[in-house]
């Protein structure tokens, strides 16, 4: 069975396998980074940026690092679907050759599981590489507080202080135990296999071909419940219900609340895709929008999942914008620690946006392969290829833009409410206006970057569109 799966893996090309392995390797490395941060003693023996070195901030940083795994899992889900049409034909041929449905499922799981396991196993190497690039600098023990505290210039109690100290983010004085590394590798590999199995759960492979189970019902907005629960948990913490001296449980509930909001937003992707597609298909007279919206209504889940991380980026950006405005315009001085912290948050959000753009590109490429005959027929009948390119772009826009706006709004409103609740300042109207303009600017920047990411993703798959609309595809079934 493994030999057969290995043969298929080799025949189907290395691109999908490499993408699967690369994604799982990065996910494993990020989990290991988060784990290493948590292993750090309260007084570290190395120079690290305060976000990691300070025990009070460390949990939040490790949590945020862990959240970066979510867009990678969405990417993994999309990569698993690459080459679906070829795989479906292969499954049918296997059934025709006498394979039982269980054997076909096993072959499919091995085909996905093998590269995921290889990727997860390579994760510790990626972790080691990241640690070399962004690792803390060891200092002599017993010299006091060995953190890079950029709030005081120059810090008197710092042994080493480099201009690049802000990039010292991963502890090098502690390493997870071998069994913990093994557990993380196994967990990420298992996540890959599960994702692979879930991707084909709606297929029925028969010797005469592969069919999908009865049309799935329209997505429901259950994610709103998660968002509401998350906001409730955050409000509970902010209300001071935990009282003084119970910072850790409060932080745990706060993180759980943030996780629920992010997961809720991610799961809202398909529903948003369906609703906005439905609205557009009823109203538009633009052919590109009609084709895009029709595709969204017919199958909103893959497009919704591909763009879902944009909502999380919006939340992060909205929160950061309001916090930055509060710190830079109301506190009266520019604090280097916050400047670097927000720069790091911005860099992380841009990285997530790039991962999301890759996910959108993979989704668009797969969708082109899947629909090549219809697209070729449309071009043969006189539809310009540029209209189909616009349709791909609008399909991504119809899902990503509402999610981005919604995320920004929720992030900004929540951070604003928290800020108002905890503020007793009486800053003037000038500061308010400047802060508001700053927030609006960052919202515009986030939307602009999302727009650019979508254009980039569709630009990358443009050559595949030409391939998909080639007259040769008029002959394929």
């Amino acid at each position: 069975m493994i030999r057969l799966a290995w043969t298929f893996l080799r025949c189907s090309g290395w691109r999908r396998a490499a993408l699967l392995a690369g994604t799982t390797a990065l996910a494993t490395a990020l989990v290991l980074v988060a784990l290493t941060m948590l292993l750090l003693p309260s007084v570290p023996v190395e120079a690290l940026f305060s976000l990691v070195a300070e025990p009070g901030l460390r949990w939040g940083t490790a949590f945020a690092t862990g959240l970066l795994v979510l867009p990678l899992l969405l990417m993994l889900n999309q990569v698993v679907r690459l080459g679906t049409a070829t795989r479906e034909r292969r499954l049918a041929a296997l059934r025709l050759a006498g394979a039982t449905p269980a054997e076909v499922r096993q072959i499919g799981a091995i085909e996905v599981g093998l590269p995921c396991t290889v990727g997860a196993a390579a994760g510790p190497l990626v972790f080691a590489l990241l640690r070399t690039l962004f690792g803390g600098h060891r200092v002599i023990t017993g010299e006091g507080m060995h953190t890079v505290d950029l709030t005081v210039m120059p810090p008197s109690n710092i042994v080493t202080y480099g201009s690049y100290a802000s990039l010292q983010l991963i502890p090098t004085s502690v390493t997870p135990a071998w069994w913990a590394i093994l557990a993380v590798v196994a967990l990420v590999a298992a996540a890959g296999v599960v994702t692979g199995s879930l991707a084909s759960r709606h297929l029925i492979a028969s010797p005469l071909g592969v069919s999908r189970r009865v049309r799935r019902p329209a997505p429901r907005p259950w994610g709103l419940l998660l968002v509401a629960a998350g906001l409730g948990a955050m409000a509970f913490v902010m209300s001071g219900a935990f009282g003084l001296g119970v910072a850790r449980p409060a932080a745990a509930v706060l993180m759980a609340g943030i996780l629920l909001v992010v997961l809720g937003f991610l799961s809202l992707g398909p529903w948003v895709a369906f609703r906005f597609g439905q609205r557009a298909v009823r109203r538009t007279s633009d052919p590109a929008t009609l084709i895009a919206a029709g595709h969204l209504v017919s199958d909103p889940r893959p497009a919704g999942r591909a763009a879902a991380a944009v909502g999380a980026i919006g939340i992060g950006s909205g929160v950061a914008a309001v916090m930055e405005a509060g710190l830079f315009f109301y506190s009266g001085f520019i604090n280097p620690f916050f400047v670097i912290s927000f720069a790091l948050i911005g860099a992380a959000l841009v990285l997530v946006l790039l991962v999301t753009a890759s996910t959108l590109a993979v989704h668009a490429a797969e969708s082109l392969v899947d629909r090549r005959r219809v697209l070729a027929a449309l071009v043969a009948a006189g539809t310009p290829v540029s209209v189909l390119r616009d349709a791909l772009r609008r399909e991504a826009m119809l899902t990503a833009m509402p999610l981005s706006l919604g995320g920004l709004l929720i992030g900004a409103v929540v951070a604003g409410a928290v800020g108002l609740g905890s503020s007793n300042s009486t800053e003037g109207a000038t500061a308010n206006l400047a802060g508001l303009l700053f927030v609006c600017g960052q919202v515009a920047l986030t939307i602009g970057l999302t727009w650019a990411a979508i254009h980039l993703a569709i630009g990358v798959v443009a050559p595949r569109l030409l391939k998909a609309t080639a007259p040769a595809n008029l002959r394929t079934e």
Binding site: T284, D286, L290, I291, G294, V374, A377, L378, G382, L474
Partner: protein
């Protein structure tokens, strides 16, 4: 003498080392129904693709109303196909995610017609081809014959001068195929449009005014049927 609307001269087309067309020349007159027949792999579909401007021949020329078609850039050829030609394939030509009415209205929307005008025209053609009751259905919910009628409505909605049909009855049973051919030929004849009908079925070819037979990329015989 009938006016020549579409012509080819010494057209050649290859795919890799396989020569699909070897110096094919023909003329199609206004209102004529031409059947292109021949065994599988003889170059029938490639000829249809060259005639309709989907493919560019490597040698020879294709003219539509006296204008060189093979010289045109992709964008004007695409516009010409949309405005002047209608194309019906064997299967899989309707956008599965759009309703039948939206599929038929699509060429008009591409031409810049407003939504309601495009919908009205689409509905009129669907009614005329007896599939008006399926306007809000998705292509996946139609039978083979119904899907082909919808595809025919989409091909005719722009008022084409030439309709190209590549094995239009290939996926239908005999009765369904005959019914579709009757509709195709009656509507095009009524409008004075020409038809190029690619088929390997002699019964289908018998409906044409003239039949040309392709073997290994070249005409082996040509004649006028009664």
């Amino acid at each position: 003498m009938s006016e020549v609307i579409l012509s080819t001269r010494a057209v050649e087309k290859s795919f890799g080392r396989t020569q699909a067309l070897r110096g094919v020349s023909l003329e199609l007159t206004r209102g004529e129904v031409l059947a292109v027949t021949g065994p599988s792999g003889s170059g029938k579909s490639t000829l249809l693709h060259c005639l309709s401007g989907i493919l560019r021949p490597e040698a020879g020329e294709v003219r539509y109303n006296g204008q060189r078609l093979d010289d045109l850039a992709e964008a004007p050829r695409t516009r010409l196909r949309r405005r002047e030609f209608g194309i019906v394939l064997q299967f899989g030509q309707l956008v599965p995610e759009l309703t039948v009415e939206q599929n038929v209205a699509l060429p008009l929307l591409l031409e810049g017609h407003d939504r309601s005008a495009a919908r009205t025209a689409a509905r009129a053609w669907l009614d005329r081809l007896d599939v008006g009751h399926l306007a809000i259905a998705l292509p996946g919910e139609l039978s083979g014959g119904e899907a082909q009628r919808a595809a025919l409505a989409r091909a005719l909605v722009t008022g084409p001068q030439v309709v190209f049909a590549d094995e239009p009855t290939g996926a239908l049973d005999t009765v369904g195929g005959e019914a579709l051919l009757d509709v195709l030929l009656s509507t095009t004849r009524e409008r004075g449009a020409s038809v190029v009908l690619v088929t390997h079925d002699n019964r289908v070819a018998a409906h044409a005014d003239r039949e040309v037979v392709l073997v290994d990329g070249a005409f082996s015989a040509a004649g006028v049927l009664a």
